[in-house]
Each structure stands twice: as C-alpha cells, then as structure tokens.
Amino acid sequence: MALKDVICTFCGSVCDDVQFDTENYKGKKFCKLGSSKFSKKERIKSPTIEGREVSYEEAINKAAEILVESKKPLLYGWASTVNEAIRLGVILAEKVRGVYDQSASVCHAPGTLAVIEEGLPGGTLGSVKNRADVVIFWGSNPMEAHPRHGLRYSISAKGLLVKGRKDRKIIVVDVRPTTTSRLADIFVQVSPGYDYLVLSALRAIISGNADVVPEMVGGVKKDTLLELAEIMKKAKYGAIFYGLGITQSRGRDRNIENAIKLVQLLNRITRWVIWPMRGHYNVVGAGEVPAWEVGYQYAIDFSRGYPRFFPNEFTAVEVLRRKDCDSALIIASDPVAHFPKDAVKHLKEIPVIQIDPHPNMTTLVANVIIPSAIAGLEADGTVYRMDCVPLRVKKVLDSPFWSDEKIIGEILRRVEELKG
C-alpha cells in the first residue's frame, strides 16, 4: 500500500492524522507548510569538505577533528531533528567542552525565562480542545505559522464540552490585522511594544482595580479592555496561546511573565491555561532533552566540564557576536538566514560543519557539509509536540542518507577515539 499514515514534521502542531503516498511522493491532508515538507526538494547530494565530495566517514572524521581541535565549539540548531539525535548532541557538546544552543534562543526562549520566574500554568492541546470556551491568540498568527492548529485543537476542533467553533470565543491580540484576526470574534490591535502595559491593565481590572487604568493603554481603549476582562472572567476554561509577537518584541520575557501572572490571577476566579505556540516540530525536544541530561533548555556552556546556563552569554547570537567560539556545528537549522547579520559575520571566519537534508544559506558558508535523512520520512525518532506530548515519527522511505542520529553518533564515537 503506497498510502502510509505519517506524522508531520514541520511545525509545532505535529499533526498525526496525515498521510503520505510513497509512490507519488505526495502528502494527503497536510496544510501548505506540511505539504512543502513532504514534497521533493533539492537535497545536499553528498558529504563535502571544502566543496570536494567525500565519503560520510571522511566528513565525519573531519568534523570530529575540527571539534576536538577547537577550544570552544558552538553546537547549534537541533529544533528540527529527533530526540535521539539531540541526546547524542548534548553528550557530544559536553565531551568537546563546547556550547549547546538551540533554535528556541531566537524564538520562544524568553518564555523559558518567564517560566523560571513564574512557572507555567498550562495544559495539553487536548485539554484546550475539550474544554476551552475562550481562546486568545496573543502575538500569534496560527493561520500562517500553524495552519491546522485551529482545526485540530483550538478554533473549530470538536471537543468533549466544547462542540465546535460556535461554542468558542476566539480573540486575537496583535499589532496588525492577520489571517487569524480575520476569523476571530474580537480583534484587539495593540501598539507595537505595548503588550506589557495591556497585560498589566487587564490584571488591574480583573483584580478589581479598574480605576487605575487610563482611558487608552497601548493603543487600546479602556472600554475594550473592560469588555475583554469580563469575557475572561466569565470563561469556563480559557486558553492563551502566545507567539513571537510578544517574545521577540520590547520586553520579551517580561511580557510572558506578565501574561503568566494574569493567568495565575484568572485561576483564582475560573480556569485558564497559557501555552507558547512552538514553531518547529521538535523545538520542545531540543529543550527537554538537555534539561534532563544537563539541567537546562538552551544556552549551555560546557567549557569547564560541567553545564552552565546564561542566556546573555551562551546563546548562539551572543556567542557569535562576541566571537566566543572557534568552530560551529550547525544541525537542522539555518542561522545564516535567521540571525541578524552581525551575528552571521563570525560564522564566515570559523570552520563550520553543517548537517541538513537541504542546502540553505548556512550551506553557503559551511566547510564540512553532511547530508542527512529527513526525519518523519526517511528516519524515525521521538519528537515532542508544542505541548510536550511525545510522538514517534516514522520512516516510510528508504534513502541513501544517514540519519541525524547516526551522524551525530558517529561524530561522538570518533571524538571519543581522538580524545583517547
């Protein structure tokens, strides 16, 4: 049978109800993003060292040499591969006394900083699907970044107590109208950088201090805030899904802290949960695996032989900005495309090892390039959905490419040999 049940490995929704036709290389039921993931694209055809085609063994040996000879290598990416590879990557980073950082550091890591301050009052996507009669997307645009999220979990999903779209109130808070705000019941437009104030105003109103709130807060009228507060208090079970709109704008982690404190307050009146809309299919794993292996989710330095965590020192952007690494291993990510240009500069000056199925902008500066199998299609493994629910993605196609797990495993083995 050519049509196989698969689990999508693109965004944090990790839809597990999709199918793939292995004969015609076509996906079924996927959204536009998943379809593109499960479609034929240009591949890195062979391992190369400085543009010269080599065998896997040679490339891995060279990669291991680079890492062992470095004083402080940066091992970055990880969000688009499976836990089994990530675990080996963490052990490798510890072995070579390097820095482990993962894509969340330019994405949702501020949420982790907020969790450190306040904790995270949350729930799985199934809890939201079944119970949430009010759902707020704050600084998040799922229709473009998680297209089937609403269908499966949060907007039109059929749940136990909430039977469908009609039983839910959807609210979008954003700085501009989006495809998601267009289908919301209420759209609240906030001035860029003013979410923190709006959240404080809501906390003031809900805790009975509406009198301290001025007529206009961050571009939002007080009346709108009063209405929103009422809806939140009257919800039987509410959910705030927040996105990069508040992790990447002014205030960053403080915005999330404030939103969490709002949810703490609401739980004294009714039930609310809050959760980040994680972007990649296993960015959660890229943080959970190092947390159990070495205690932290990102920005981890091993140069002293034990893990140290500091976001302002050991995130990839900070390490690159200060030229604080002398080589880099980039896996399942593209920092040359997604980091501000001043952080990319240093990547052009140091040896870079890249592991990826597809050529991207980092490939243009990489010295050792190792092609890998596509997880969820050509390699299996464990991934964590945005709500940390574990799923095992499948291998449904054979391919000549090694899996990330095998590549990292071999690099680790060779590093151990070289270190003696």
């Binding site: 049940d5 689990i7 597990d16 109800d17 836990n83 052990i91 510890e94 072995k95 982790t112 969790v115 450190i116 301050e117 306040e118 904790g119 995270l120 009052p121 949350g122 729930g123 799985t124 996507l125 199934g126 809890s127 699907k129 079944n130 119970r131 499966r152 979990y153 749940g159 136990l160 107590l161 039987k236 079970y237 703490q264 739980n267 004294r268 009714t270 039930r271 949960v273 943080g287 959970e288 947390a291 159990w292 292996e293 070495v294 205690g295 932290y296 989710q297 091993f302 002293r304 032989g305 034990y306 893990p307 965590f309 464990t382 964590y384 940390c388 629910v389 574990p390 799923l391 095992r392």
Partner: protein, 560 residues
C-alpha cells in the same frame, strides 16, 4: 562468564531469614547462585570481611522521570546550578535536590540503591517518561501510569462494568509500558478542570456519576481479579489539608474484604502528607496514631512514609488542585499541566525549615510513621523530591534506629513539635534488620518483584556492601558511623557488576525497564469501540498512542 565471590560479609537478608550471619555470596551472569555453580579460582573476589552485606535498595516511589520532573528542572535553574561531578570518563552531574537523569542514576548507585520506580506517569506522556528513564544509568526501573481521573476509568466505574475496567487496565499498562495501577486524588483532578476538588470519598466527580470511593474500590477489585504483581498504589484525596487523616483511614479501610496471599491489596503512599489532625494550619497536629493503629490491625495494607528532609524540596505531583492550593499558600511560582482526558499535574518549589512549626510537625509525622507502623508494612521514602532528596534515606534510616539521634535533632526544631506530635515520647528503636527490610525486601514484595530485595539463590545480583560491622556497631549510639556508611556504599553491585566503590562511579551500566503485560487475561477487542469513540476527545490518533517495546533500551516484560 562473569563470576563474583563476596567473602565473609555479615549478611542481613530478611526475606530469607538471615540476620547478621557471616556468609559468602556467589554471583554468576548477573544472578546470585550457589557455591557449586561457580569456579572459585575464576571468580573476582571481594573481601567483605566484617562488613554489612545486603541486597541493593529498592526505591518504590520517587519522581525521577517524565514531563513534570523535567518542567521542575526547567523552572528551577537555582536547583540545577549545584555541580556534583565534572565530566571525565563519566557524565557531568548537577543538581541540588532536583537532579539531572545521569545524576539520579549515579547518586542512587553510590548509595547502594539499585532499583527506582517512577511514581506517576501521565499516560499520554509515557514515551517521554521512558525516554527519561532510559537516560538514567545504573538502576533498574519502571513507571506507574495514573488511573484515578482517566475518563475511561470514570466511565467504566460509572457503568459498573468491571470486565471492561479490567480490560482497560491491561490495555493501558501495555500502551504505556507501565508497571501498575497508580491512583492520585481520584476524582479530584477531574474536578480541578472545573476549578474545584473533592473533599471526601463520597463527593460526586463533576460530569460523571461516580465518587472517589467507587473509583478506588473498582480499581482494587479489577487489579485483584487481574492478579497484577503490584497492588493499587494510592495518593489519597485531601492531601496536605489539616484534618485529612480521617480520609486516609477511610481510604485504608476500603481494603477490607480483599485478600491476596502474595502481597497487600492496597499500598498507600507518602502517608505523611495525609496524616494531619486538627482543622487549620494553626492547630494542625499529628494524626499518625490512629493511622498506625489501623494499618497495624490490617494484614493487607502497606504504606510508605514521604519523609520531609529539612532544606530545599520541590512539590510535584499529579494532584493538580493541591499544587494550586500550595501556590496560593506559599506565593511561589507554579506550573500546571492539565492532560487530555487523563488527569493533571502541578509543580511548586518549597523549603522545609526546622524552626517553622508546620514543617517541623511534618518532619515529626514522617518519623512517627516509620516508628509506629509495623516494619513489615512501612517503606522508607521521601516522595522525592516532594519531601526532599532520596540521598537522605540514610538520615531517615538512622533516625528510626536511634532515639539519641532523634533527641539531638528535636533540639533543633520548632517546639511546636512537642505538643503537636508524639515523636518526643516514642522510645522505639527499629533494628538494623527491620531497616534493611523497610528498604529492600519489603518494597520488593510490595511491588511483586520476587528477584529483588534479597540475596537468595536466583535473585538478581544487586548487592550493596557497607563499611561497618553490624555485629559491632550499635545503631542506638553509633548513628554517625552508620549514616556515613549508608550514604556511600563500599561496593554497589548491579547485575553482578561493580558499578560504584567508596562513593565513586567505577563503571557505567544500563538497567532494565520493567513493564506489566496483563493482556493475556483479557479480550482487548471488547473495549475497542469505546477506545475508538472516546479517542475523538484526544488530540492524537489512537494508532499513535503508546510506547512500543523496541523504543525502550532494555525492556523486561512481566507477564501476568
């Protein structure tokens, strides 16, 4: 053909009625064997002359692997910053009370503990729990999935359908690769989805026509009819509330009328948190006396302590409404995770301070339980990390054996303990034999693991050798020596391999993960309609739900 000869040790092996006998132990291929099965000259010899030799410790209830443990780490970098070992031949390990997975394995083995059981596994997160268990080196392990608020359970109890409940339990244990039926605040966590909780055994669970009493009784019945190796393992309703000792006694009494000749029919866990008399934090006092009387009078109930250790701790349980209450009480940061239609969890950091009257009382209550309950019915635990570190089990062990040590400790704690607890007046000193039973043979029996917790022929070669002579050392007076020795085993042997020596890791090793397969006793098809239908309320497909054996490093299936 790996063989060991442990010479001249002073053995305490309560299951086999060996009490401080000088004898040799022989190991071959990871098992304890008789002398005629080995060739003495091919053995590696360990000179245990005049040293205590016991089975490796069995920690039957600790929170060591899974989503809530990891969220605990994530939200508490203040815990993770303590560096224990630097990476060299072995992994770096960090953690104060919360530990990383490698640290958990290393710390257990250094202490002479060789098996550890994850006390509460959210079913949909089973794969994550197994991933973390498989990142804990050294020890044998298993996980207990939580049933008491699972909608399938609530449905089948409501329908009074014992057969379907049994079938469901078997299905669930297979899917989660779980070990037994864990119950946490039955009905109460479902009530929390509506902002509430349950207050007594006869409260109605919202949206379901069931009560906690019915849930517990049905699960006991089902577990006994399936004859699972481990009994229902329950975290009672009303945890942490002054006056709750009565709920605990009522719950314990639910075991009346059930019989099992191999083991208890109900194990009540971390009873300390459920042993409060009084009606507010102002007049809270110990409710242990009645609980102990009740447990001692029954022959089919066991408990574990849940001892608080002064210092840092992290409250993490599946009792989500209680965790919210704790967050409000302490003003501390708080994580919560409502989980599909299965249950929930919560995490709140805390500190136990000796001068705080309530904390001191909790500490006293834990010790009262260890002293007043029959040694054949009470296991030493801290409900790690809720009460404190498991690395302080030696503290509890020595305290239970020495009144002198207790008197010294009582000087340091709040005087509230003098009037609110009977600890100061308890003269009982448990013997070393009893303490070995409470940490080895008893938990192994409770869990239904006949090859663990003892040194008889055929047992797994999980052995701890401690650096003191039990024939010469007096636990009553020499508690410092015993404490130091128990903290750091002279030798810890696992599956016949020496893994730790004098508190240092010698070799890395990966243990087995036990899981229970009762599917042969039921017809899984009989509930397939219910499963398919209700899975519409899950957020994953039923075909993607669960853990396959191939994904676990060293699965060990126990067939019922």
């Amino acid at each position: 053909m790996h063989m060991l000869h442990i010479k001249n040790g002073i053995v305490i092996d309560p299951k086999n009625k060996i009490s401080k006998e000088k004898m040799d132990i022989f190991v071959k291929n990871g098992k304890i064997v008789s002398e005629d099965e080995i060739k003495k000259d091919e053995c590696k010899v360990i000179d245990a002359t005049n040293k205590l030799v016991v089975a490796g410790g069995v920690d039957m209830h600790a929170h060591i692997a899974g989503s809530k443990i990891n969220t605990g780490r994530t939200m508490r970098p203040e815990e993770m910053r303590v560096v224990r070992t630097i990476a060299n031949k072995f992994r770096a390990t960090v953690g104060r009370v919360l530990l990383t997975s490698p640290a958990i394995g290393y710390e257990y083995i250094k202490m002479g503990y060789t098996s550890a059981f994850e006390a509460a596994q959210p079913p949909i997160g089973a794969l994550h729990t197994h991933e973390e268990l498989d990142s804990i080196p050294m020890v044998d392990k298993a996980a207990l999935p939580v049933f008491g608020n699972w909608h399938f359970v609530l449905k089948f109890v409501q329908e009074n359908n014992l057969e379907k409940l049994k079938t469901f339990i078997a299905w669930a244990l297979e899917r989660t690769k779980g070990f037994g039926v864990k119950v946490v605040n039955p009905g109460g966590v479902e009530a929390w989805m509506y902002g509430g909780n349950v207050k007594n055994l006869d409260d109605q669970v919202p949206s379901f026509n069931v009560t906690p009493r019915e849930i517990i009784l049905s699960l006991i019945k089902a577990t006994e009819e399936l004859n699972l190796n481990h009994s229902v393992h329950i975290h009672c309703n009303n945890l942490g509330i002054p006056g709750n000792y009565q709920t605990t006694i009522e719950t314990i009494k639910l075991a009346k009328g059930f019989e099992n000749d191999k083991r208890q029919v109900l194990h009540v866990t971390h009873v300390q948190f459920n042993a409060y008399a009084g009606d507010s934090w102002r007049n809270v006092s110990s409710g242990v006396e009645e609980i102990a009387k009740t447990v001692n009078a029954m022959d089919n109930v066991t408990i574990d302590v849940g001892q608080p250790i002064f210092g840092h701790a992290t409250a993490m349980t599946g009792d989500a409404p209680f965790q919210f209450t704790l967050h409000k009480l302490l003003g501390a940061k708080w994580s919560n995770k409502d989980s599909e239609v299965e249950g929930g969890a919560g995490i709140v950091p805390l500190v136990y301070l000796p001068k705080n009257p309530v904390h001191a009382l909790q500490w006293a209550i834990g010790l009262e339980l260890g002293l007043l309950v029959d040694s054949n019915k009470v296991v030493v635990t801290t409900d790690y990390p809720n009460g404190g570190p498991f690395t302080e089990y030696p503290y509890i062990m020595t305290m239970l054996m020495s009144k002198k040590m207790r008197e010294a400790e009582l000087q340091k704690v709040s005087p509230y303990v003098q009037k609110a607890s009977s600890l100061p007046s308890i003269d009982t000193e448990k013997t070393l034999d009893e303490i070995v039973h409470m940490t080895r043979s008893l938990p192994a029996r409770i869990l239904g693991l006949p090859n663990k917790g003892h040194l008889g022929i055929g047992a797994d070669a999980d052995i701890a050798i401690y650096n003191f002579n039990p024939l010469e050392v007096d636990p009553s007076n020499d508690f410092e020596i015993i404490y130091r020795s128990l903290k750091s085993a002279m030798y810890t042997i696992k599956d016949g391999k020496i893994l730790a020596k004098d508190g240092e890791i010698v070799q890395e090793h990966w243990g087995k993960t036990y899981w229970v397969d009762a599917t042969g006793k039921v017809d899984l098809e009989s509930i397939s309609n219910e499963i398919e239908e209700y899975f519409g309320y899950y957020s994953v497909e039923v075909r993607n739900y669960g853990v396959e054996e191939e994904w676990i490093k060293r699965p060990e299936r126990i067939v019922i």
